[in-house]
Symmetry: C2
Subunit: 385 residues, 2 copies
């Protein structure tokens, strides 16, 4: 259980099988986010159709509403949501920091006011694991503190040390063998703090490691060196999960650096706002051009929207504020990211990842590949750190 078998490797980029109680998944993979027990607007059958593997659920939202007991009464997230594959739940830590009102962080845990009804809620490492055991995901996350960006070095340092003590408490109270607890490393964008966090975290020998505390406001030029440094220190025989990332270009750069798992609300959120992801960049379906285009968003895409609809039709739905528009654009964007990692996997398997990633970048960035992307590919192609 939770075996991680690397099948192909090119530089740091790798293709692997990660075994979970609800089936094996192939990495690198992008995980759609189902915050409140649903990937917004998308049915489980559609998730399977577009190649989704593992779905993310949010502990913070689900513990507040409908409460973990109801989810548990359904046999956990698969029974509740009707998605029959593997799940991952976050710990609630990040969401408390970003959504909780009047939060107070102590060594014990976090106290905050619910964004729903203002009631006072306590979340501790023990409570997070208790909720996550009730939600029943295959992969659960350690309760961590994710400092905002920017934050004082001192604060980041104290916070990463506390995150390690919280990890210890999470490991202690966890009772289920069929759930893999992943540790989360922190340290902001500081190499020495990342090093410290990883040194303190690796001894726990958890079945996977997440890189937390990134994509919280720093630039990509600041983020990717931290990803490169952290990923290079994490064990090769365990999955590496870059939390809350990302955009198409982040996935390709992350894969180059040896990241295996990604999640982000971006594809569904930007879809609801009327944007479609393509190899040529993000297409604004709210603009006037698509209204007359009798072609699909992407004629190489296999999603329902691209197989059935023109841009003109989808642009009409958007203007008319029809529910089918956010639904179809979310579906397309998820399929785009799944297809992107599938292409990356194929390229890695055939030893052509860097050529592919360069070509993809040339087109996506319209000939102006940014420095951080180039550097991520170069670091990924070079010797392991």
């Amino acid at each position: 259980m939770f075996e991680f078998t690397v099948q192909h490797q090119q530089g740091r980029a790798r293709v692997a099988q990660f075994h979970t109680p609800r089936g094996a998944v192939t990495t690198p993979m992008f995980m759609p986010v189902g915050t409140q027990g649903t990937v917004k607007g998308i049915s489980p059958q559609e998730l399977l159709d577009i190649g989704s593997q593992m779905i993310l659920g949010n502990t913070y939202h689900l513990m507040l509403r409908p409460g973990e007991a109801l989810v548990q009464a359904h046999g956990g997230l698969p029974g509740f949501t009707a998605y029959p594959g593997p799940f991952l739940t976050d710990s609630g830590g990040f969401q408390v920091m970003s959504l909780g009102h009047m939060r107070k962080i102590t060594e014990e845990g976090v106290t905050f006011k619910s964004h729903l009804d203002g009631s006072l809620v306590h979340l501790t490492p023990e409570r997070s694991i208790q909720v996550q055991e009730a939600l029943g995901a295959d992969v659960i996350m350690a309760f961590d503190e994710c400092p905002p960006f920017p934050a004082e070095r001192d604060y980041i340092q104290r916070s990463l040390e506390r995150t390690v003590r919280w990890l210890d408490r999470c490991v202690s109270v966890k009772t289920n063998d069929h759930q893999a607890l992943f540790a989360i490393v922190q340290g902001g964008i500081h190499e020495d703090l990342r090093q410290q966090s990883i040194d303190l975290t690796l001894p726990f020998e958890t079945p996977g490691f997440a890189i937390g505390g990134l994509a919280v406001g720093e630039s990509k030029a600041e983020m990717f060196p931290a990803v490169a440094f952290s990923a290079g220190l994490l064990p090769d025989d365990k999955p590496r999960y870059l939390m809350g990332v990302g955009h198409p270009e982040d996935l390709v750069a992350g894969i180059a650096l040896g990241i295996d798992m990604f999640d982000c609300v971006y594809p569904t959120r930007t879809g609801r706002f009327g944007y479609a992801l393509t190899d040529d960049g993000r297409l604004n379906m709210n603009s006037s051009a698509p209204r007359k285009e009798l072609i699909p968003i992407d004629d190489t895409c296999e999603c329902y929207a691209c197989r059935h609809y023109t841009r003109a039709y989808l642009a009409h739905l958007l203007r008319a504020e029809e529910m089918l528009a956010p639904r179809m654009l979310s579906l397309h964007n998820l399929r785009y990211l799944h297809h992107l990692v599938e292409r990356a996997r194929t390229a890695i398997a055939s030893g052509k990842f860097h050529d592919w990633a360069n070509e993809w970048g040339e087109r996506y960035f319209k000939g102006k590949i940014p420095e951080w992307y180039q550097q991520a590919l170069a670091t990924g192609a070079g010797q392991r750190v």
Copy 2:
């Protein structure tokens, strides 16, 4: 083409095949409404899965946005919306009356301000047919005037006469043989005016006849005698379409009276508001009870929602304002109405329609069958008028 073959009859209720260029449909049938080129929130594949046959499109909305030219450039509504089956478009008349601002009705037609941008728009019988030919539905409707309820007898009388003159103009300008033009009879709830309207309309020998001007505010006790009277005067060998109806009980009563076609926004609209249609009446999924019920909305229903979700899950989605809630409740409600008419057809075919309609009514009305429903069944079971 447009052949209408009655296969089973019990009293006035009948099962028939209605042939259209895009395939035959079995009546009685309920037509989902796709006002702006989409049944709200539902994909064409889902419509096929739940047993939809003919889909209704709205001339008024589509001519204003995106304009009929764009729909025509897609090869009409099937190409635009990706629903591969037959369509029916209304004439725009009813929608102008209910949605247009500052409308002015003359013998020539109607002038009104668009509800979208306030621009001045003219709609005449000629223009309605032109738009409907561009939209390319299999069944198109004559441009009629639908008086509000209540209205003066005199007004209804003048209006039904004008509707006949407009019908004459529609028939004259229609150019396509692959579109069936249905006439609409008016007359409010007055038998003598209905008689006049039908006497003036029948000579046009259109391939189908619609009963218009009902379900506009009158009670069901006022509406159904008018349906019974009108349906009884319309030819047996042509489809009868009761426009803008309805609720489950209206479908059963209408079928008893010989109605073959129905349409209404009710199932999708009430679904978006959180209500689910069942044999026990309308279930309010916003109330507290469903939040704890680990059973489907209806365990005999074959829709995706009933096969996969508990009431508790759907109630959670509703409270969390998740898009999947209106989508799934709309899907369920459409399937409920399709299944209802399928059950009616089976009952007619086996000569048990009235028993079935009584039993269904007993449960649906919780033992208190209203007078109008009983009378509709009795009229339907008796001699033809």
